[in-house]
């Protein structure tokens, strides 16, 4: 496309395009006020400007496919010109967490062991995005195999929080959250095993949703913990998240844990919520998620949010979920147990890294050398924990007990949802912490997922919506809204109402990249 076409009447500047919500971009693209190619190019330019270098930029992307993105954008523009856009989001760019398989881009899960691997198949969610005419820009960074809360466990270096490039963007999906927060992409997909969509959303001031387990196909998601993993949307607004949610959701024959129930009407709920009325809605504050270990600024922002919800007409009560205190230890037995089995396939025999294949080493030695070189410390730690938890002498006391705790957590949710429509808590106890601060302290790192893990163990829906800035450090805080399984729409409704009431002033959506600019 020539420059004359690009600068035609009504065209927006690149910096305006990267600040728009996906819904507004889609409206303009479908009204042919701007082309998908222009929107795509604006985002590619933004990535070019702020993502690198890997050592100091945002570093949200592990792989960029500018050519493929522009080709997809052109195809979307043609379909729109023919009056047949594939979906309401056709032509809108999207970033993909690099643990989702893609035929046209490498898929590494941020691990050396899969460096350069090109899957022969697309994940179901990727296929659905393509069919809906969205424009995949590239693959985003994550903690290796989604194990972590900061992206510091990525084999390819951490991503950085656009609000402060010395701080973590959350994890494991810090690439997706920072890409969305920095205006590199209006939308992204993440995967949430213990909070990997919600916690990055909270610390980057973006929206992150973990849908009900089984409502979005996991086919093509490189498994970390199969009974907990759930793919979900990352966006800058609740409505955008809902629009993306509807594109990727729904039953898939390739995932037998996907449910046949119809997808909850999340877009409708987001639109209804935006009218700002929560009268008749009963909201429960989980009392276990406050107090010691919670940053005062986070609790302050949360308290403000509770007041706002009350002003919207909701009845806010306190509920106790005593078993939630078991969630973290239970999670750190169940998730590593499943991971130890899921990651056993990385043995250098069929794909990925192979070390020591020199004719001198036997197959099992090649496997050991490859895993030694190809897996990072956190991955090895979890494989060892999980292998131990499942072993004959420990199974009942560790894995078995953790499953019992899981049952208790499900019961607490069931009881709480008998009296409340949704439950709320801070998404994570603190704001974004400095890179390196918890890197050598796994237990401190694990605490970042304290509030998000129960919903993974129970399989219900939960999201994080920005709720202002912490008074003590000026960084974003997230409000977590949890809803019963298959009632994702309730969380969307409450989040959308809160989002409107909160209004602007929660800080710039595309924060200035201060640290980056000062280094230039």
């Amino acid at each position: 496309m020539s420059d004359t076409q690009r600068s035609g009447a009504g065209a927006a500047s690149g910096s305006e395009l990267i600040s728009l919500d996906a819904a507004e971009l889609a409206r303009r693209i479908h009204a042919r006020e701007v082309s998908s190619v222009d929107v795509t190019r604006a985002h590619l330019e933004r990535i070019e400007a702020v993502d690198g270098p890997a050592e100091s930029g945002v570093h949200a992307f592990l792989h960029l496919d500018a050519e493929g993105a522009l080709a997809a954008a052109e195809a979307a523009d043609r379909a729109i010109a023919d009056g047949a856009p594939a979906s309401p989001l056709a032509g809108v760019p999207v970033a993909l967490k690099d643990n989702l398989t893609t035929t046209d881009m490498p898929t590494t899960a941020a691990s050396r062991i899969l460096e350069g691997w090109r899957p022969p198949y697309d994940a179901t969610v990727v296929a659905r995005l393509r069919a809906a005419g969205l424009v995949p820009l590239g693959k985003t960074n994550l903690d290796e195999f989604a194990m972590g809360s900061s992206t510091e466990n990525s084999a390819f270096g951490p991503s950085r929080n656009p609000w402060d490039l010395t701080r973590i963007p959350g994890g494991s999906g810090g690439g997706s959250s920072s890409a969305v927060a920095a205006g590199e992409s209006p939308l992204a997909l993440g995967s949430d095993t213990g909070g990997s969509i919600r916690q990055p959303g909270a610390v980057t001031g973006t929206v992150g949703v973990k849908p009900t387990y089984g409502t979005v196909s996991r086919y093509g998601l490189i498994a970390f913990s199969s009974s907990l993993d759930q793919i979900g949307p990352c966006a800058r607004s609740v409505l955008d998240a809902a629009l993306l949610h509807e594109v990727i959701g729904g039953q898939d024959a390739n995932d037998q844990t996907s449910v046949s129930a119809p997808l909850p009407p999340v877009v409708e709920a987001a639109q209804a919520g935006a009218r700002g009325d929560l009268s008749g809605v009963r909201i429960g504050i989980v009392t276990e998620f406050s107090g010691e270990g919670y940053q005062p600024g986070v609790l302050g922002a949360f308290t403000d949010a509770v007041r706002t919800l009350g002003e919207l007409g909701a009845e806010v009560v306190e509920v106790s979920c005593p078993s939630f205190t078991y969630a973290l230890p239970a999670y750190y037995l169940i998730a590593p147990s499943e991971a130890s089995s899921n990651l056993a396939r990385f043995d250098a025999m069929r794909y990925g890294l192979r070390v020591g294949d020199d004719g001198e080493h036997a197959a099992d030695e090649v496997m050991s050398l490859t895993r030694e070189a190809g897996f990072g410390a956190e991955v090895k730690r979890r494989i060892m924990i999980g292998t131990h938890a499942l072993s004959a002498g420990s199974y009942d006391a560790l894995y078995g007990k953790a499953q019992k705790a899981r049952t208790l957590i499900v019961r607490d949710f069931t009881a709480a949802f008998e009296t409340c429509d949704v439950l709320i808590s801070p998404t994570t106890p603190t704001t974004a912490f400095p890179i390196g601060e918890r890197a050598d302290d796994p237990l401190a790192m694990y605490l970042a997922d304290l509030c998000t893990i129960p919903s993974n163990l129970a399989g219900n829906a939960a999201l994080s919506v920005p709720c202002g800035l912490s008074a003590d450090d000026g960084l974003p805080v997230g409000l977590q809204i949890m809803a019963p399984a298959l009632a994702d729409d309730r969380a969307y409704r409450v989040a959308a109402a809160y989002e409107v009431a909160r209004g602007p002033g929660a800080g710039p959506r595309i924060p200035e990249l201060r640290a980056l600019e000062t280094t230039r």
Binding site: Y121, A123, Y219, S226, D255, Q256, R345, D364, S391
Partner: protein, 502 residues
């Protein structure tokens, strides 16, 4: 290796003077579903390596299993045919261990809750009595791929230069059928083992759920054997013998292990719990590579598959649709056809029962059908070195030959030539008759002319016949049969000879 060194030191009879043998038999059966257990790849034997594969059966990152409903149906049918309970809620588990030909490095199997359990099979023994083998469980699992070790003398992994992996078999549905301990069979233990596997094969063949070919590995048997002193209750240490690839080998492997265990025990030693390999040539077993580490499979519930809850209606529909059990069918056939016990057993042992039954179903009288399969066709199979079912002739074709004999188109001798033609690939029986020109000469005038010619050629014999010595007619009949190259109906010729000499 010589027989004296390898022979077990004690005969079964000697063993059983001091010990009671205890057996446990584990039979793996590959199901003959069109597709694999957890993906849509073809379940086919003998394809080019790595052609029936996809992301799922290769266990590629991100792939998920998708359960084959037909495999579940087959598992339930097998359970019902073995008088098992069908579990209302069962599930899959992961069995974790490393092996290069196992793509995910775990096998999806069933652990604490197999789909069917607690059954029995009444096994017919050689003397016509029945032995009840109790079934512990039957569960579903996926097969592994195959490793091919290249270089080195043995084809085994040690000494090989490199290994090739073929994943065509990875994900093929398997059913493992496990017996409860078989106690009290005494000297008959080897026979009971063989008879059980035979009966199981017949049941599975009758269900049509598997090819049950031990030679191709679609049915594999592991034989656990231990001995307990006659006056004790506790079982002895067992060994598990693998690589038992024929029905006869099942019997031989059990017999050998009984003798070997007795030898160890009576010389004051202890039996080592281990896996042993059966050697078809010598009929002996040898210790497998000792396991360096304790195998902990770290079973846990497979999170990628929902629980299995077959509806009662479905189970009852499958139960109602079960075919007649082979032993019931045999009893019915024996009555219908009026066979002696011995005749029936010969048919079963020769693998001929189904063939004869199918031939009868195709219209042949039971006696004629039986006679063809157990005599002439059995000889042909023997000569060709194949089993009876492998012969290149179908029951329908045999029935057609029988019909051609019955309507006088063929004599028995001609019929054998037609069968030879079918076996040689010359087509259907009628095509062979035409192709080889084998039909009986039934043209009366041609036959009469041949008779007259033979009488004229041997006037002295003709005279004897005319004098009433009808026995002499045989020589003339022989001459006529010779002249017609056997294509005449000898009985009719006899009649004509007598007629012309009247």
């Amino acid at each position: 290796m010589t027989a004296t060194i390898d022979a077990a030191p004690y005969t079964v009879e000697e063993v059983c003077e001091r010990f009671d043998p205890v057996m446990g038999l584990e039979v793996h059966v590959e199901l003959n579903t069109a597709t694999k257990m957890f993906c849509g790849c073809a379940n086919a034997f003998g394809a080019e390596p790595n052609t029936n594969i996809c992301p799922v059966c290769l266990g590629l990152p991100g792939s998920l299993p998708r359960l084959n409903g037909t495999a579940v149906e087959s598992a339930i049918k097998i359970g019902l045919a073995l008088n098992c309970q069908v579990r209302e809620r069962s599930g899959f588990a992961r069995k974790n261990y490393f092996y290069p030909d196992m793509p995910k490095n775990f096998q999806i199997s069933q652990y604490e809750d197999p789909i069917v359990f607690d059954g029995y099979l009444d096994v017919p023994l050689d003397d016509g009595t029945t032995w009840r083998v109790e079934i512990e469980r039957a569960h579903m699992e996926e097969d592994t791929g195959k490793s091919l070790h290249i270089g080195g003398a043995t084809g085994r992994i040690h000494g090989a230069d490199h290994s090739l992996l073929d994943y065509n078999r990875a994900g093929v549905p398997l059913i493992e059928i496990v017996t409860k301990p078989i106690v009290g069979a005494g000297v008959r233990a080897p026979e009971v083992a063989r008879a059980y596997v035979t009966a199981l094969r017949d049941v599975l063949r009758g269900l049509g759920v598997s090819d049950v070919r031990m030679d191709q590995g679609s049915m594999r048997c592991d034989a656990n054997v231990s001995l307990k002193p006659k006056d004790t209750e506790a079982f002895g240490t067992r060994t598990e013998t693998k690589n038992v690839n024929s029905l006869r080998s099942v019997e031989r492997a059990v017999r050998y292990e009984m003798g070997r265990h007795a030898g160890v025990l009576l010389s004051g030693g202890t039996v080592t719990q281990e896996t042993r390999h059966f050697d078809e040539q010598s009929g002996t077993t040898s210790a497998g590579r000792p396991k360096e580490t304790f195998a902990d499979y770290r079973f846990f519930p497979e999170p990628d598959l929902p629980p299995l809850e077959p509806s009662r209606d479905w189970v009852e529909t499958l139960r109602a649709g079960l075919p007649e059990r082979p032993w019931e069918r045999r009893a019915r056939i024996q009555t219908d056809w009026g066979l002696s016990d011995e005749e029936l057993r010969d048919l079963v042992n020769a693998d001929a029962l189904d063939l004869v039954a199918d031939t009868v179903d195709a219209g042949a009288p039971p006696e004629a059908a039986r006679s063809w399969w157990v005599s002439y066709l059995a000889q042909q199979a023997n000569t060709a070195g194949v089993t009876l079912p492998e012969l290149a002739i179908t029951p329908a074709q045999v029935a057609r030959v029988v019909a051609l004999v019955a309507d006088g188109t063929l004599t028995n001798k001609l019929a054998r030539q037609v069968v030879d033609g079918v076996l040689a690939g010359e087509g259907e029986p009628d095509e062979v008759v035409t192709g080889r020109g084998l039909a009986v000469v039934s043209d009366e005038s041609a036959l009469t002319a041949a008779v007259d010619e033979a009488l004229a050629a041997q006037p002295d014999i003709a005279e004897k016949i005319r004098a009433g010595k009808t026995k002499a007619a045989g020589a003339i009949v022989g001459a006529v049969m010779k002249a017609t190259r056997g294509q005449a109906d000898a009985a009719r010729v006899q009649e004509l000879v007598l007629e012309r000499c009247r």
